[in-house]
């Protein structure tokens, strides 16, 4: 049956490392990097990309609007 | 027609878009007249009574940011409440007209006339380096004539303009030739926040510049405007000054009374003249300095403890003596009192 696969793109230099997206992601896709961006923040990245369903919750939560979300239907 | 009513009728005829005000004696007739004559029905202009002078002047700020001809009127204590916003209006370079029908201060004071708001008006009642182009009417006719002029000057310089009147001129009734009616604005300047046109980026009306290097440049641009005003907008009137030995310097109601004194003394063969500043800022200093070369002394006459006299002294310097005569607390001098002062200081 059809399955949704998603992916997110994070504007890493505008992320402030607030972790709201990571905490809200039901699939635990997102984690914070150990590296820091130009502002000195740890930023979010897809640690577990396969689990992403493109539900946009992370982007909806992001106070700085740095997350873009893509979603596509795939045949399992 | 009363001075206050002349302001209101002239505003309608000048194509004002909005008036926001608050009741305070001795100028409430301005708003009453606008309501009574139903200015909104006549030209569609907005007439709104706010909950305070602070709110009223900030409504003016909002309407001014849309490039409209907008005004308020109040009296001394109300103008004090408006001073913060007046500084914002100057900082954000917003054109508007503010009418101050002054009353005796300080504090609640009296509702009788006064000229003790001079410093507040021309030296800045609000914070920061800003100037208010200030016109001082001395008749009901000038109350009417200065409204359209104020709007035009406000837009020319993108700066608030003040008509500094007083309780006497405001309440006084005189014949007045009312200005021609002109339409309200339909085109608005490009800086006005009226909603962006497609393809146009958002515009901003603000007086905020946290970056000092940017804010200094902004301040320098404001100062350049004030220099231009000092070059182009000085207005004054001279009576019997050509051969005068002693000259009274007075504006507004004081000038009306002093004119009577000068005419009486002239009839008695005394070489006395009257110099009447019409713009209090820009102050007619160059003209006074020139006059000082031909006269033996000045008498500054004011309804205050002596404020304009400082600017007269700055202009005249030490060329000739500058004396002062004033009444306080809303007391209005008689022509004879001014004559007495002239005789005392200059042994006429």
């Amino acid at each position: 049956m059809a399955k949704l696969r998603g992916a997110i793109v994070i504007d890493k230099d505008r992320c402030k490392g607030c972790e709201l997206c990571a905490a809200t992601c039901a699939q635990q896709v997102i984690a914070m990097t150990t590296a820091v961006n130009q502002k000195g923040y740890h930023y979010a990245y897809m640690a577990n990309p396969e689990a992403c369903t493109g539900c946009t919750n992370c982007a909806v939560m992001c106070p700085d609007g740095v997350i873009s979300v893509y979603r596509v239907k795939v045949e399992a | 027609m009363k001075g206050n009513e002349a302001i209101a009728e002239a505003a309608i005829r000048a194509g004002a878009d909005a008036f926001f005000g608050y009741p305070i004696t001795p100028q409430t007739e301005v708003m009453e007249y606008l309501m009574e004559t139903d200015a909104t029905a006549r030209t569609g202009m907005v007439v709104l009574q706010a909950e305070s002078e602070v709110s009223a002047i900030n409504m003016v700020y909002g309407a001014a940011s849309c490039g409209r001809r907008v005004m308020t009127s109040s009296s001394s204590p109300g103008i004090s409440l408006m001073c913060e916003a007046i500084s914002y209006l100057a900082g954000a370079e917003l054109p508007c007209l503010i009418v101050n029908v002054s009353r005796g201060g300080p504090g609640l004071g009296t509702i009788q006339p006064s000229q003790a708001d001079y410093f507040q008006t021309v030296k800045g009642g609000g914070h920061g380096d800003y100037k208010l182009l200030t016109l001082a009417p001395s008749s009901v006719q000038e109350m009417a004539d200065f409204v359209a002029l104020s709007f035009d000057l406000a837009f020319k310089y993108r700066n608030p303009v003040m008509i500094l009147s007083d309780g006497a001129i405001g309440q006084m009734m005189e014949k007045v030739y009312l200005p021609e009616e002109r339409p309200r604005l339909t085109e608005f300047p490009d800086w006005a926040t009226t909603g962006t046109r497609p393809g146009q980026h958002g515009r901003t009306i603000t007086s905020l510049n946290l970056l000092s290097s940017v804010h200094e440049v902004h301040n320098q641009r404001l100062q350049a405007k004030y220099r231009q005003m000092e070059q182009e907008e000085i207005r004054y009137e001279e009576l019997y000054c050509d051969d005068a030995e002693y000259v009274v310097v007075a504006f507004g109601i004081s000038a009306r009374i002093a004119q009577n004194t000068v005419e009486r003394l002239r009839a008695a063969g005394k070489k006395v003249g009257l110099f009447r500043p019409i713009t209090l800022y820009p102050f007619p200093a160059p003209q006074l300095a020139a006059l000082a070369k031909r006269v033996k002394g000045f008498l500054s006459v004011e309804l205050s403890a002596g404020q304009m006299i400082e600017d007269v002294k700055l202009a005249v310097g030490s060329q000739v003596p500058v004396e002062f005569f004033g009444r306080l607390g809303g007391m209005v001098p008689t022509p004879e009192e001014i004559e007495g002062a002239l005789r005392k200081y200059f042994s006429l």
């Binding site: 709201l20 106070p63 | 907005v46 515009r203």
Partner: protein, 259 residues
Amino acid sequence: MDVKDIIREENLVYKKSRLLTDTPFNFCPGCGHGTVVRLIAEVIEEMGIEHDTVGISPVGCSVFLYDFYDFDVVEAAHGRATAVATGIKRVMPDKFVFTYQGDGDLAAIGTGETIHACNRGENFVIVFINNGIYGMTGGQMAPTTLEGMKTATCPRGRDVKTMGYPLNITPLLAQLDGTYYVTRQAVHTPAAVRKTKRALRQAFENQKNKKGMSIVEVVSNCNSGWGLPPLQANRWMEENMFAKYQLGDMKVDGVLQMR
């Protein structure tokens, strides 16, 4: 399927509103202000009214709204946003106007303007961020600061006997005949964010239909002011702020909903 195949233009389901400029927000990490500022841009974009909208940014954390929005914004003096909005709306009744105010701006210095703009039923939208503190100036006590809450100006906790009670202003405003829609939302979970967006959309639709004053209060965290990281701040908010400032609609279509 490889991630690269998913990230293609046709698969895009969410991105930042084009009405937001490239200027990064000046809000602290995880602050609710950013979310609400973003939502307003999305609502205005979706309604296609950016060329007819003028926003009012007052003094407070939101003072730089005009740097973030690509439509006209007017800066108001502290507390005077609703008066400035009144001035604009009265001379341009067909334009959309909204104020974006913090609790100090709306419920302290601007209380008079707020109440009277609502009482006149001015037809614009007030967006009111209630985080119980003055954020921009570094965390001082605000009218909505909770009893016992510590701030820079009540370091031993707000003592109501000497510093007054937390001011729950929105229900008061709902009682005024001039208000048409009054609701209190939050942005601490995706569901709450979506509800806030719907509320904002409702408010702007009300304005479009000339229904009078719409107020959307958003109870938000203030991480730096409360001295908590974002996630903990949101939990603290749920337990403490929501107790005093209950979420929900107080007035819909001019009808009071309060118990």
